[in-house]
């Protein structure tokens, strides 16, 4: 996978396909992006599992925290990692010990580790880096358009009014796919410099 620019169909396939998501680094602090991404994905019907060793014994929106991926004790479709780029590799390595393997490893906006990605992809796991699943879900459903964001999708169909806990259709027509060409170029330049 070219991690500088993801086709919409790749992201759409992942978000339409996965049901359970373990979020590593989920925070109980309600102004942290991991908290509101967790909440949003739960509201859109995903089976969310918060992973954070610092909060074991507590719950996040009714879901008990687990200390590590291996403590989940049941198969998960996707691992969503809310950690800095330098802390991704150990999480990916732990994910690769799970049986069955997760179908997807997703690294948050700002997080990227190409070596870790290659490792996961070599065993058939789909990888997304430097994206937010909440933003991508909002973009493909066009819900994010409410904030003046370019969803890069079009539709002439009447969408149902979104309500809490409802899955939205992500099957709008794509405008080029993924991020804009200019922002992809800028991100690529940045990753090459670092």
């Amino acid at each position: 996978m070219n991690h500088d620019a993801y086709p919409d169909n790749y992201i759409r396939g992942i978000l339409n396909g996965v049901k359970s998501i373990a979020m590593v680094g989920a925070s109980p602090i309600n102004v942290r992006p991991s908290y509101f991404a967790f909440k949003y994905l739960a509201q859109r019907g995903y089976d969310m599992i918060p992973v954070n060793p610092g909060h074991v014994g507590k719950e996040l929106l009714g879901k008990p925290f687990v200390a590590s991926l291996s403590d989940i004790g049941r198969p998960v479709d996707m691992i969503d990692i809310f950690r800095n780029s330098s802390h991704l590799m150990p999480v990916v390595e732990e994910a690769l010990t799970l049986d069955p393997l997760p179908k997807v490893i997703w690294m948050q906006l700002g997080a990227r580790d190409d070596a870790a990605a290659a490792k996961a992809e070599s065993v058939g796991i789909k990888v997304v880096m430097n994206r937010c699943p909440k933003i991508e879900y909002g973009r493909l459903s066009s819900e994010i358009s409410w904030m003046g964001v370019n969803s890069r999708t079009l539709s002439s169909k009447r969408a149902p009014a979104p309500t809490q806990g409802m899955r939205l259709s992500l099957n709008r027509m794509s405008v080029g796919g993924g991020d804009t060409a200019a922002s992809d170029r800028a991100a690529k330049n940045k990753s090459e410099q670092s």
Partner: protein
């Protein structure tokens, strides 16, 4: 479902708009409401905390305005946009996110006279110091960079003379200086020039002009290219640092490549207040649907009128980059191959008096202070839009006393030429 890229005209009609989920209305409804009900207290708190997508209050966002924002972002190739009350409001909101008191920004000397005034006087009172550079001398931008420089501001097609700016060359200077390049793309519109493709980090518009296109509604917009990294060096604390007004949220971390547009909305528009009326957003959206058709007609008419004027004995010179003899013709061919815009100036051999005489004799051209209308417009900048500049600055900005500015409309070009001919003739 395919990732095929729709064309510009398709985006001009469709981007951002879809049938209304509640009623099925196909045209974008005018959501003429100040406020929006919350589902419950938790939903309200999530919206106020920037944690959920949704509407709160029309000073922060409105569904009609959001369609306009997404449409212009799509046409410009940006990640997000924010519509505001006017082009001037767009400029204030942009610079508020970038500059602290005592900071500097570099601006091209050739700008709309209103921008020159805003930068020179109003912004000075905020402690935002403009440093002027000459768009015909790229090195003058490099020389103007200091450690306090926070942005570079240019127009793609410069008012009033219709000169074309070398956006790529100036974007190289901006990149080297580590500051964003802001391009006012009002006179080109994204149909002629997409500054983001040439290295712009932020695009601003007066929507009042060609985008709205009918001279009936004021508006402005800010487009975030999603290209600038705001996190480096603490230079842009509005984007990179925890915001106390939002419980310590960091905008770049949270919103990634559309963080600048969000900053403009939640720190700029929310607190400064220049919201766009949803009715104006609707009028401008309707205008944008025909932008590609109108803009080509504007350009074709402008070229015909410029050619006529260039051959007229009463005319001393024509400044239109669409003419092969023009100083900016090569830049026009590179940046605006479909046409060099429809706003340009010419000077009369008879000087100031001949200009005043011409304006008074024209029958179809309207004498007023606007550009980018379906109607053809004329003005004498030295006595109006640029009148607050001193004589030297007037000449430098292309608005000397003998200069007349035209904004060519979409009428029949033969009628425009006939009107100019009768007014110049006697």
């Amino acid at each position: 479902m395919s990732d095929r890229l729709p064309g510009f005209s398709t985006l001009a009609v469709h981007a951002g708009a879809q049938p209304d989920p509640t009623t099925g209305a196909r045209a974008t409804p005018i959501y003429q409401t100040t406020s929006f009900v919350f589902n419950d207290a938790d939903h309200a708190a999530s919206l106020f905390g920037l944690q959920a997508f949704g509407n709160i209050y029309t000073r922060i966002g409105n569904p009609t305005n959001a369609v306009l924002e997404e449409r212009v972002a799509a046409l410009e190739g940006g990640t997000a946009a924010l519509a505001v009350a006017s082009g001037h409001a767009a400029q204030v909101v942009v610079l508020q996110q970038l500059l602290q008191p005592g900071d500097e920004f570099i601006a091209a000397r050739k700008l709309y006279g209103g921008s020159i005034n805003q930068f020179t006087h109003a912004f000075k009172s905020f402690g935002w110091n403009v440093v002027w550079a000459d768009p015909d001398d790229i090195a003058s931008f490099e020389r103007a960079v200091t450690p306090r420089t926070k942005a570079i501001f240019i127009e793609s097609i410069a008012n009033p003379g219709g000169s074309i700016t070398d956006i790529e060359a100036i974007s190289t200077v901006a990149r080297k200086a580590g500051v964003p390049l802001i391009v006012d793309n009002t006179l080109a519109s994204p149909y002629l020039i997409r500054p983001i493709d040439h290295g712009a980090d932020i695009v601003v518009h007066s929507l009042t002009k060609f985008l709205g296109g009918h001279g009936n509604s004021l508006g402005g917009i800010i487009v975030d290219a999603g290209t600038f990294d705001w996190s480096t060096g603490g230079k842009y604390p509005m984007l990179s640092e925890p915001r106390p007004e939002y419980h310590g949220i960091r905008l770049q971390e949270t919103f990634g490549n559309f963080a600048f547009a969000i900053a403009c909305r939640v720190l700029g528009l929310r607190d400064l207040g220049p919201a766009l009326s949803p009715f104006n957003a609707f009028m401008i959206l309707t205008g944008i649907e025909t932008l590609p058709l109108r803009m080509q007609r504007h350009c074709d008419n402008a070229k015909a009128v410029a050619e006529f004027l260039a051959g007229h004995p009463a005319v001393a010179s024509v400044s239109y980059a669409g003419l092969p003899s023009d100083k900016y013709h090569q830049l026009a061919r590179k940046y605006a191959p479909k046409g060099a815009g429809a706003v340009f100036t010419f000077s009369l051999k008879g000087g100031y008096d001949a200009g005043v005489n011409l304006v008074s004799k024209l029958q179809l051209f309207s004498h007023l202070a606007n550009v980018g209308d379906t109607r053809s417009l004329v003005i004498h900048p030295a006595s109006t839009t640029h009148s607050q500049l001193d004589d030297a600055a007037k000449v430098k900005s292309g608005a000397g006393p003998d200069v007349v500015r035209l904004s060519i409309g979409i009428e029949d070009k033969e009628d425009l030429i006939a009107d100019l001919e009768q007014a110049l003739g006697a």
